[in-house]
């Protein structure tokens, strides 16, 4: 169903996500430095304190301790302060990066217009979430491991300076706990993750079936069986999860073992070295307590693996969309749409959404003369919306011609066509802004009088005046949620009228409305489009008698066309759609 696109290698998804964040590298490096200072302060506090105690135990003069005392107090303060600053700096850098990434992603989308993907709201919101995953990448995916590398390196250097085998042991312990254990735990968790996802999917399916289908189940006395199915799925999921718990405890156990083992090892090495005379008792205390505190450095790392995995998946999905080539050619020429009459002439138009897909439009001929109004009628899935997509320049014809003023539309720049052909696309979007902003999309320079005139023509002005005291400044809410379904349709229509295209294309402008609202909106829409070349795409029969001509499209082909009364007096799809019996003598059976 999706457009052909190159497959992105999963790892490249992550690398390209990181590349998106590169412009903010300096801020981000500052964040890592502050993070390292914070984590380092925590470890250094115990190291210095160990030195302080070990030295104090030799009862030196107070001056010998003064530096350590000051350092200890300073470290006590610096950890909290630098951690706080680190979080502010990295979040700020992440937000700045997010602005860059969003703009890059958006520009790419505006260029390639993968409009078919926009038919699914879920896909779009996932795309947006994937874009926003860059934030997560910086704050939780990259900063912690980099901080760990810097502080871990410093601690190992200190350890090695005190006692070489001790430093090496510390390095081994940190690598194990910070890298090997998380990676191995993640690998170990993959199979349980898959198993549980499958079981959860089954549970979810049965549950959704049971809840959505509840009325049917209850009416047919089948609820009990459905619940038993859910129960079985739940038992399976629980069984899998209980069994997998045995595997998933590994990470916690191994981390604790490595940390404890390393402390024990340094203790053993330290005691042996002191006994052998290669290490003083004071540095030995420092070494052991440093090792004890050091595992705080790697504590955040197990969570990073999962985080990076999620970001990588997000990146792969994101670039999958971003790498889509524009589906529409053209735009190279400077040709402008001619003045005067602008006839639309479609001949042999064929469109499909992929080489293996069936033809969505399969040889359509259609004419729309100046000032005429035609309807394209067909059941859902008949391909009529693909026609709108071609006219709005979301799609190129795969074969055949679409001529605007005698010139093929692909010869004009895309926006030149859209200046002449516009209207109400399928599911027009109402932006979470004011009425004014929503209207002015169609004509940015329009003054209030023009906006009111458009509302008037769409028969929305009265409603606005009566129910919205803030008039054009009324916020309409996300997706126009504060408007009724009918008002949203009228707003989309007003916007289309304001754009004043020379050919008005209306793609299912009344869908999802109840019959009364549908009839009212349709009547007003037909009144408003009087005298304007109009192409109405619809699946229902209301208002068709007012159109000059009707094209019936089924399975991508024009089955019938002609004026309403003509079609009604002929046997065929249109007549049957009106519930009229076949004409006598045709030999088809009528119902009762």
């Amino acid at each position: 169903m999706s457009d052909p696109h190159p497959v992105v290698h999963p790892n490249r998804g992550l690398r390209r996500m990181i590349a998106l964040a590169r412009p903010r590298g300096a801020r981000f490096a500052l964040g890592v430095l502050l993070g390292a200072l914070a984590t380092g302060s925590g470890v250094a506090l115990l190291s210095v304190a160990a030195w302080l105690l070990a030295t104090a135990a030799t009862h030196p003069p107070i001056t010998a301790l003064s530096v350590a005392v000051v350092a200890t107090r300073a470290l006590g303060v610096s950890r909290g302060v630098t951690r706080y600053l680190e979080r502010l700096v990295t979040h700020d850098a992440a937000f700045r990066t997010l602005a860059d990434v969003r703009v890059r992603v958006y520009e790419r989308l505006a260029h390639s217009e993968p409009v078919r993907r926009f038919r699914s709201g879920d896909l779009v919101s996932r795309l947006v979430n994937d874009t926003d995953a860059t934030q997560d990448l910086l704050v939780r995916g990259l900063t912690p491991p980099l901080v760990s590398v810097v502080t871990g390196g410093a601690v190992v250097a200190l350890g090695t300076a005190l006692l070489v085998p001790g430093g090496l042991l510390l390095a081994a312990g940190l690598l194990l706990a910070g890298l090997a254990v998380p990676l191995f735990a993640a690998a170990l968790g993959r199979a349980p993750g898959r198993r549980q996802a499958a079981a959860r999917g089954e549970l979810s399916t049965t549950l959704v079936d049971t809840l959505y289908g509840a009325p049917d189940l209850v009416a047919y006395g089948a609820m009990e069986r459905a619940v038993q199915r859910v129960e079985r799925a739940d038992a399976e999921l629980t069984r899998v999860a209980e069994r997998d718990a045995v595997l998933l405890g590994f990470g916690a156990g191994a981390s604790a073992l490595v940390a404890g083992g390393t402390v024990w090892g340094t203790l053993l090495l330290g005691v042996a070295a002191v006994e052998g005379g290669t290490l003083g008792a004071i540095p030995m205390a420092v070494l052991v307590l440093t090792a004890l505190a050091a595992f705080e450095i790697v504590a955040p790392l197990p969570a990073v693996a999962a985080r990076l995995g999620a970001v990588r998946a997000a990146g792969t999905r994101l670039f999958d969309v971003l790498d889509t080539e524009p589906v529409v050619r053209g735009g190279g020429s400077e040709r402008t749409v001619p003045e005067g009459d602008l006839p639309l002439r479609v001949r042999g138009l064929r469109v499909r959404y992929g080489p293996d897909e069936p033809w969505a439009l399969d040889g359509v001929d259609l004419d729309l003369g100046p000032g005429r109004r035609i309807a394209v009628l067909g059941p859902s899935g008949s391909g009529k919306s693909t026609l709108a997509a071609v006219l709005f320049r979301f799609r190129d014809p795969d074969a055949g011609t679409v001529e605007l003023g005698g010139v093929d539309i692909t010869a004009y720049p895309v926006d030149e066509v859209r200046g002449a052909v516009s209207g109400v696309p399928q599911d027009p979007h109402i932006f979470a802004s004011t009425l004014r902003e929503n209207l002015r999309l169609a004509r940015p320079g329009a003054d209030d009088a023009e906006l009111w005139a458009a509302l008037e023509r769409a028969r929305l002005a009265e409603d606005v005046r009566e129910t919205m005291p803030e008039g054009l400044d009324t916020e309409v809410g996300a997706h126009g949620a504060r408007l009724s379904g009918g008002m949203r349709r009228r707003l989309a229509l007003a916007r289309a009228l304001l754009a004043a295209p020379r050919i008005l294309v209306l793609d299912e402008p009344t869908t999802h409305l109840d019959p009364d609202a549908r009839d009212a909106v349709l009547a007003d829409l037909l009144a408003a489009s009087e005298g304007c070349a109009t192409l109405l795409i619809t699946h229902d029969l209301a208002g068709l008698e007012r159109m000059d001509e009707i094209y019936v499209i089924v399975d991508g082909r024009v089955l019938q066309h002609g004026p309403h009364t003509d079609l009604l007096s002929r046997d065929g799809w249109y007549r049957r759609a009106h519930g009229l019996p076949d004409l006598p003598g045709q030999g088809l059976r009528a119902v009762r």
């Binding site: 105690l53 104090a56 135990a57 502010l88 958006y106 809840l211 718990a245």
Partner: protein, 599 residues
């Protein structure tokens, strides 16, 4: 939100076991923390005093043993926690399912025998005339809650609760040990540990207030990008798509400003935690260092205090770090409890024996073998949906005669579907009565005295948007009669004009229909639903807008099948227009919940 919801403990037995195990592990871990500190202090001080491997080997070996036991405990506690989390989730899930479906589920304490629980219908969209009939409106939400929502409890059980236990035990134990060694250090710890939760609560409260003040702004700015991307096709149609990039940058920057303002306050809570815990350790270190120097303390004790001091704060920091992730799980559990607390509307308590007897008498035996259907009389029936004030039906009186067809017409929202909901017992009248009588008129009883299941056995219902399950065609048709034979199903499909397209499917009647019957067109789904009704072969059929939104070819097929289904049965057809009047015996128009003219 409380850290430990008592309802959660009560609701799931697995939680109680888990709590016991967790506390036991917590006590053991606390003991090991103390032992490790003491052993480290002993060995380091011993080395300082000139002792070698031989003298210290016992203590060093003990350190290894402590490490091993701690690792084993960490592993065991996590595995056990995930295990109990799986059980607890299952127990909560089953209670939820039992509650919303009204079906008793194994292992759920809900619902006494006899009268059913609330049943699924109180959250059914079908009883709502404004709704297009999308089934249970909250189904998606509930399904997500029962699966992914509850999964957030893993973190709560496996990471948060254990740390919470440690956050209580460890500071107390540390304080006790340190107090015996050095009371000044103990005082520092005793003063700072309680300050941490207090400050964190204060900061959290302040942050919340600030976020709430900015909520609308943050929400608007945060949603802008999604809004623009969703609207891209619309922007493109008006040639405004490319102009939006600059606006996206501006709004995202505004969002950053606003959010950073909130974060500066929100991060203070972690700042307080880190600052107090580190500063306290630093103060303790300096204090014992100086006392050690003046000989007021021995080295081993000083080391013990130094190693233990950070341990007092560690679990607190862990709890803080886990708090938000874990609270998602608690929030999911609270949502489950909120659903469990919802009481269904309608009659409470089981029916009396006598009532059930009159109800049963009113019914003629279940009707597969050609018995007559009852007569149904609406006597001034009114219906108000819970939470609404408007009457969906207002004093409706009409008679549905056995074996006759009745067409209900009227504009949308007029109450047609509500009438069907009453007949299906998806809703109960809030005024008046529905009487069920034998055809002769004797033995009448209020419909509510008839056991629901027995009543529904008399009815076949073809909704406007029938729900098909992700199952085979065969099982979808057999919904009401799971024991029906293949040839019976086939016969029903033929009557419903469904046999031809079903045979054309790759595996015929064995073809799985996909989520919500996605494999089929709307007209084909309607015909599968009609086949269900034919197979059920019940004396009463209810049809809701059978051909709305269908193309003419499908509509004609459905119409043929409906005509066949109405033959010899009591039929109620709900339709927006009067195009069905030639198939029925009488037509009733409903407007605004009232009966109009009868024809």
């Amino acid at each position: 939100m409380r850290p430990l919801d008592p309802r959660l403990v009560r609701a799931a037995r697995a939680v109680r076991t888990h709590l016991a195990v967790t506390v036991a592990c917590g006590v053991a871990v606390t003991g090991l923390v103390l032992a490790q500190a003491w052993l480290l202090a002993r060995v380091i001080a011993g080395t300082h005093a000139g002792e070698g491997l031989t003298e210290l080997s016992g203590a060093i070996t003990a350190v290894a043993v402590v490490a091993l036991v701690r690792a084993a405990l960490a592993y065991g506690a996590e595995a056990a926690a995930l295990h109990s989390a799986a059980r607890a989730k299952s127990q909560l899930r089953r209670r939820l399912i039992a509650h919303v479906t009204g079906v008793r589920v194994t292992g759920s304490p809900e619902s006494a025998p006899g009268e059913r629980g609330p049943g699924p219908v109180w959250l059914s969209g079908r009883t709502d005339p404004d709704d297009e009939g999308a089934g249970t409106p909250r189904a998606g939400e509930l399904a997500t809650l029962a699966t992914r929502g509850l999964d957030a409890l893993d973190d709560y059980f496996a990471r948060y609760l254990p740390q919470l236990v440690l956050a209580v035990l460890v500071p107390l134990a540390v304080l006790f040990v340190v107090a015996r060694a050095d009371w000044i250090s103990a005082l520092v710890i005793a003063l700072t540990v309680p300050l941490i939760p207090v400050f964190m609560a204060l900061v959290g409260w302040h942050t919340q207030a600030r976020t709430r003040r900015q909520w609308r702004l943050l929400n608007r700015l945060g949603g802008h990008f999604l809004d623009v991307v969703e609207g891209l096709p619309t922007l493109a149609v008006f040639r405004r798509a490319k102009a939006q990039a600059a606006i996206i940058r501006r709004i995202t920057d505004e969002h950053r400003h606003a959010t950073m303002g909130t974060l500066r306050v929100a991060f203070l809570s972690a700042f307080v935690l880190e600052l107090l815990s580190t500063l306290a350790v630093a103060l303790v270190a300096v204090e014992i260092g100086l006392r050690l120097m003046y000989g007021m303390l021995d080295y081993e004790t000083a080391l013990l205090v130094l190693v233990l001091a950070p341990e007092a704060y560690l679990p607190l920091r862990e709890v803080g770090a886990r708090f938000h992730a874990s609270m998602e799980g608690v929030a999911a559990a609270e949502q489950v409890f909120a659903v469990l607390d919802e009481k269904p509307p309608g009659r409470a308590g089981p029916l009396s024996e006598a009532a059930l007897r009159t109800g049963a008498r009113a019914l003629v035996r279940p009707c597969r073998d050609g018995c007559a259907a009852p007569r149904i009389r609406f006597d001034a029936v009114s219906l108000t949906y819970p939470g609404r004030t408007a009457l969906a039906l207002s004093e409706v009186s009409l008679v549905i005669r056995p074996g006759r067809g009745l067409l209900l017409t009227g504009p949308s929202g007029s109450g047609k579907s509500s009438l069907l909901a009453l007949l299906l017992r998806f809703a109960e009248p809030t005024g008046g009565t529905i009487l069920v009588e034998r055809p002769s008129g004797e033995g009448g009883a209020p419909l509510e005295h008839v056991p629901v299941e027995r009543w529904r056995e008399l009815i076949a219902w073809v909704p406007q948007h029938p729900y098909l399950f992700d199952d085979t065609v065969l099982d979808n048709i057999r919904l009401g009669r799971p024991d029906a034979s293949v040839s019976e199903v086939r016969r029903a499909a033929e009557l419903a004009e469904a046999h031809d397209f079903v045979s054309a499917l790759p595996q015929g009647y064995g073809t799985r229909l996909g989520e919500r019957g996605a494999r089929l067109s709307a007209g084909q789904r309607q015909r599968v639903a009609l086949a269900r009704a034919f197979l059920r072969d019940s004396p009463i059929v209810l049809l809701d807008e059978p051909t709305a939104h269908l193309d003419p070819d499908n509509a004609a097929a459905v119409r043929t099948a409906v005509a066949r289904l109405l033959e010899g049965r009591t039929g109620v057809v709900v339709a927006h227009d009067t195009g069905w009047s030639d198939l029925v015996d009488e037509t009733v128009r409903i407007e605004s919940g009232r009966i109009g003219a009868m024809t």
